[in-house]
Symmetry: C2
Subunit: 228 residues, 2 copies
């Protein structure tokens, strides 16, 4: 070993780094070169002290009165998240969601490349999705090993998600991103994260309900708050 | 007005309610009837004091030594998020992502129903997706008004997202969920939330990188940590 193992960052802070990363990417696109912790905090919806603490784990502290260099901070977060390399990823499920993910610029342009897509549906096998030929689910292990895959995505319908997880684990994959609305049982040591596509929709629903309450009953058809 | 406007819950707490909701739904499925704030906190990845505080906004405090009634808490969170009704939703973009969302059980079974899908691609118009016939993007306003839609989903490729947002705003829709990896400019008062499908993948990448560091260089091909 040449490097000592990196220090661990608290889980909640790790979860915020991709949010900062997305904001910084947008800022770079807009030509912004400096940002204060207060500005970054507001864009991320957290408080400024937390932003400064989170970024201090990267060994970066900003400059008083100037803030952070956007490009350099972006680089540091990418490096910390392991996104200065591109991870080979395999997708289980070549339906609409699997196809959407394989073609999603937000994934393929930001630290990941899809090296395999598998399905059990014979009609899908052999088709090309996101530049990759769909192969049979039985080939999962062979693809994972030949391509050195350590991250798998489950994009199957819910009833097939557990089976997909077991196949990924058998193939030696230790990190699983689950898009199926299903609870997975996996061996200890396998890292599963779940994406709930409805979560943000439920947050919107809360605010829409608040607007309805403000409007009162007689204004039910309108979609803008009514001032009294 | 018969009811007074509901009290506002802090934004960060609103963001955690759908997480609790998902966990409680899973617990109900497993037959669990009671849960302590400590257990819920662990499953949600936050601390127990925060869980108790968040739930106190719903006017619920649990019972010392017993915890919360899972079913009742589920009901309370659903009510607070406005999910005791089903919201009509319109999707812009009938490509793979739009189709996946229209068919996603996690959305259609949990407080939302898709009443319209629009696209500009003539080859998609008239096809049926998730039980709904795809219509031309020009019909967006007519659909939104006839169905009383207040929530719109953008599932277009990134270069078309701004145009989609403007069409939704013109149609009187005040809440937008954006799946496209693009920054949107909308008028004040329009609530936009962004779903970044790569965010959780970037968190997995962090932990995979930590594993690689623990393994050291010579073990690069393995996907399980090596104990010395």
């Amino acid at each position: 070993m040449t490097d000592s193992p990196r220090r661990r960052i608290p889980e909640a802070a790790v979860g915020r780094l991709p949010v900062y990363l997305r904001i910084l990417s947008d800022l770079v696109g807009e030509g912004t070169t400096q940002i204060s912790s207060e500005q970054l905090a507001e864009l991320a919806g957290v408080n400024a002290a937390k932003v400064r603490k989170d970024l201090s784990y990267l060994g970066t502290y900003g400059t008083r009165g100037v803030g952070y260099d956007v490009q350099y901070l972006l680089y540091q977060i990418q490096r910390e998240l392991g996104l200065n390399q591109s991870w080979p990823v395999i997708i289980v499920g070549a339906g609409n969601l699997g196809q959407a993910l394989a073609n999603y610029a937000g994934i393929t342009e930001r630290g990941f490349h899809i090296v395999g897509i598998v399905d059990k549906d014979e009609s899908k096998i052999g088709t090309v999705v996101g530049g990759v030929r769909v192969r049979h689910a039985d080939d999962l292990q062979q693809i994972a090993q030949s391509k050195g895959v350590s991250i798998g995505i489950i994009a199957t319908p819910a009833p097939h998600a557990q089976e997909a997880a077991e196949a990924l684990v058998r193939a030696g994959i230790g990190s699983i991103l689950n898009f199926a609305p299903a609870v997975l049982a996996v061996p200890k040591g396998v890292n599963v994260r779940k994406v709930d596509l409805a979560l943000e929709l439920q947050i919107l629903s809360y605010y829409e309900q608040c607007r309805s309450d403000t409007r009162g009953d007689s204004q039910g058809g309108q979609s803008t708050p009514v001032s009294a």
